[in-house]
């Protein structure tokens, strides 16, 4: 199979990802792309705690992820790739142009952001970055769980 979902979610590994998406996709590996987490054993242990033993968790920096992406995409298993913010998504797509889609699954309130959807809050700069990704041919939609509608980027930015 391949990486079935490329997701931006500031909670990274949590119930919606592992259960909500992981079960219907029959996901057996998760790639967490985050420069900080990839350098912290403690953080990695914390994220592994939320994942059942049959799902492998791989931690990678943006640079390493861009290098290993072809391997994960050619994997016979189904995987999910996670990033925690829009800047990381932009950085990854810049280094790995084969990334053709991103699901915005959860970007929550913070000073300077305003509500675009119930589960998506963005600054104007972040909204512009998502539109730029889309303009470069990356399919950007917002969808928290598989049963919800995939909202096109033009409707929430």
């Amino acid at each position: 199979m391949t990486l079935a979902l490329y997701r931006i979610d500031d909670r990274l590994i949590h119930g919606q990802v592992v259960v909500g998406w992981g079960q219907p996709l029959d996901c057996t590996f998760i790639v967490l792309v985050d420069d900080e987490v990839s350098g912290s054993d403690w953080e990695q242990d914390l994220y592994r705690m939320g994942v059942p033993p049959h799902i492998e968790v791989i931690f990678a920096s943006v640079e390493k992820a861009a290098e290993l992406l072809p391997t994960w995409e050619a994997d016979s298993r189904v995987g999910i790739l996670l990033v925690g913010d829009i800047d990381t998504a932009v950085a990854l797509t810049a280094r790995a142009p084969q990334v053709r889609r991103f699901n915005v699954g959860g970007v929550h309130h913070r000073t300077g952001r305003r509500e675009r959807l119930r589960f998506v809050y963005l600054t104007d700069d972040e909204a512009a970055k998502l539109r730029q990704l889309s303009a470069r041919g990356v399919e950007v939609t917002a969808q928290d769980v598989p049963t919800a509608r995939a909202v096109p980027v033009g409707e929430f930015t």
Partner: protein, 127 residues
């Protein structure tokens, strides 16, 4: 014995925490020992802020619903920065009922006690 009674903070998805606090109060009549925190609509920073407000100063036990996910990661990060805070996962009503009557012990001991009380409540009953 601890200098001040332990505070219990329940950290959950949706309204599980609020419901558990209401149930404990309904059964025991004890109010103020437990504070609910929901992760509803929260990113990492917002949930950390909710935790800070709920715990306040002094010792506490954080009762988290699942052994993974945003409730646990935020709680574990908080506990890492506060020596007088312990974290228990898999919160259930039985452990909370025991906890509210035993709040004059250290957080780590209260956490172990909660695991014991909560675990004993999980069983298969005779048909």
């Amino acid at each position: 014995m601890s200098s001040s009674p332990l505070r219990g903070v329940i950290v959950s998805h949706a309204a599980v925490a609020q419901a558990l606090v209401a149930a404990v109060t309904a059964i025991t009549g004890i109010e103020g020992a437990l504070t609910p925190v929901s992760n509803e609509g929260c990113g990492t920073e917002a949930l950390a802020e909710r935790l800070r407000e709920a715990v306040g100063s002094g010792p506490a036990v954080l009762f988290v619903d699942l052994p993974g996910g945003s409730c646990l990661t935020s709680s574990a990060r908080y506990a890492k920065q506060h020596a007088d805070v312990a974290v228990v996962t898999g919160v259930n009503l039985a452990m909370l009922l025991d906890f509210v009557f035993h709040r004059d012990i250290a957080p780590a001991e209260a956490a172990r006690r909660a695991v014991d009380a909560g675990g004993k409540a999980i069983r298969v009953t005779a048909a």
